[in-house]
């Protein structure tokens, strides 16, 4: 049965009794190929996905502590203020530096509370696996902001931020809260509950 198309190199392959010469042109992808390449979703895979979600939750949880109101380090030029100012001192993207200088800096306390609340929720809800896809998406946006602030700061290891992206894309793509998480407990109920809130929760989880 033909189920799709794929591009492969110079290989000879026999699948479902049909021999195909594959010479870099479009070829049929059979159900057999899909079966051979199916990703295992057994217990080890599920355990790893839950562990990745919990680890990322703990990462946000541990790092929320030093974002301290009321001025978030603005007076002493430390803490969150120092890291945000790096977007201007060591610019990564001109537009983001302009945003920090002209929009964020004059309203830094408001920005600080936004960061504190976002990271508080990221830690709490990624750990519990509640509306996981939504919080993974927020985590990716927060990682974009952090990356654009400190990627060029001396002493930073750029791969920290690339790995943060990778881990959160894994959580987003696999909806990891459905494994050992609140989403896994509540989705069967949300699926039977009429109304918009339940439908939205199904999408965000």
């Amino acid at each position: 049965m033909v189920v799709g198309y794929g591009r492969v190199g110079h290989v000879r392959l026999r699948l479902n009794g049909n021999e195909n010469e594959m010479t870099g042109t479009r070829t049929h992808v059979t159900a057999g190929e899909r079966e051979v390449n199916a990703i295992a979703i057994g217990r080890p895979t599920r355990a790893v996905l839950a562990a990745v979600r919990i680890a990322v939750g703990l990462m946000w949880l541990q790092n929320v502590n030093w974002k301290r109101p009321p001025d978030f380090g603005q007076a002493a030029h430390n803490g969150l203020y120092q890291y945000t100012a790096d977007a201007v001192k060591h610019p990564v993207l001109g537009a983001f530096s302009w945003l920090v200088q002209n929009v964020i800096d004059p309203n830094f306390a408001l920005f600080g509370w936004g960061v504190l609340i976002a990271e508080f929720c990221l830690g709490a809800f990624l750990l519990a696996g509640f509306l996981t896809r939504f919080w993974a998406a927020i985590g990716i946006l927060q990682t974009v902001a952090i990356t654009l602030s400190v990627l060029n700061t001396p002493g930073e290891w750029q791969w920290s931020y690339y790995l943060m992206f990778a881990a959160q894309f894994v959580i987003l793509a696999t909806a990891a809260g459905r494994i050992a998480g609140v989403d896994g407990l509540l989705r069967p109920r949300w699926s039977l509950t009429p109304g918009r809130p339940a439908r939205i929760a199904m999408v965000l989880s």
Binding site: L61, Q62, A124, L127, A128, L185, R189
Partner: protein, 130 residues
């Protein structure tokens, strides 16, 4: 339109929610051990004495609810954890004597509280409009 009670095929049994409740209660109580840890890389959460006592007490309350088949105690433990956590979030700028705990322990409390409330929800039959 009358409200009817329907059981979903995957609805957990009494044993299921009690086991889940006990697991989360165990993690809640064990989280207090972070208060004894002073090695920064492994201290994922900074827990002070008062927060450690709150975690142990509410973990015990939830475990009691599982043992006595009283899911409402899970609801109570979860609600208290969420309220205590959110109170610390909004007062994080202030130092209030011995109860000034860290905000990451507060976030942990909100996460655990959410888990307790989700388990309490699964202990109840589904009511669906028909």
């Amino acid at each position: 339109m009358s409200a009817t009670t329907r059981t979903i095929p995957s609805a957990p049994t009494s044993t299921a929610w009690r086991i889940r409740g006990l697991i989360v209660a165990g993690f809640t109580a064990l989280s207090s051990l972070f208060s004894l840890l002073h090695y920064t890389p492994l201290q994922f959460v900074s827990v002070n004495l008062v927060q450690a006592l709150v975690l142990v007490a509410l973990g015990a309350l939830a475990a009691l609810g599982c043992a006595l088949r009283k899911p409402v105690l899970l609801l109570a433990a979860g609600a208290i954890l969420i309220v205590v956590g959110l109170v610390r979030l909004v007062t994080y700028g202030a130092t209030i004597g011995i109860i000034s705990g860290s905000v990451n322990a507060a976030a942990l409390m909100v996460g655990l509280g959410t888990a307790f409330i989700a388990i309490w929800i699964t202990s109840r039959p589904v009511r669906e409009e028909s």
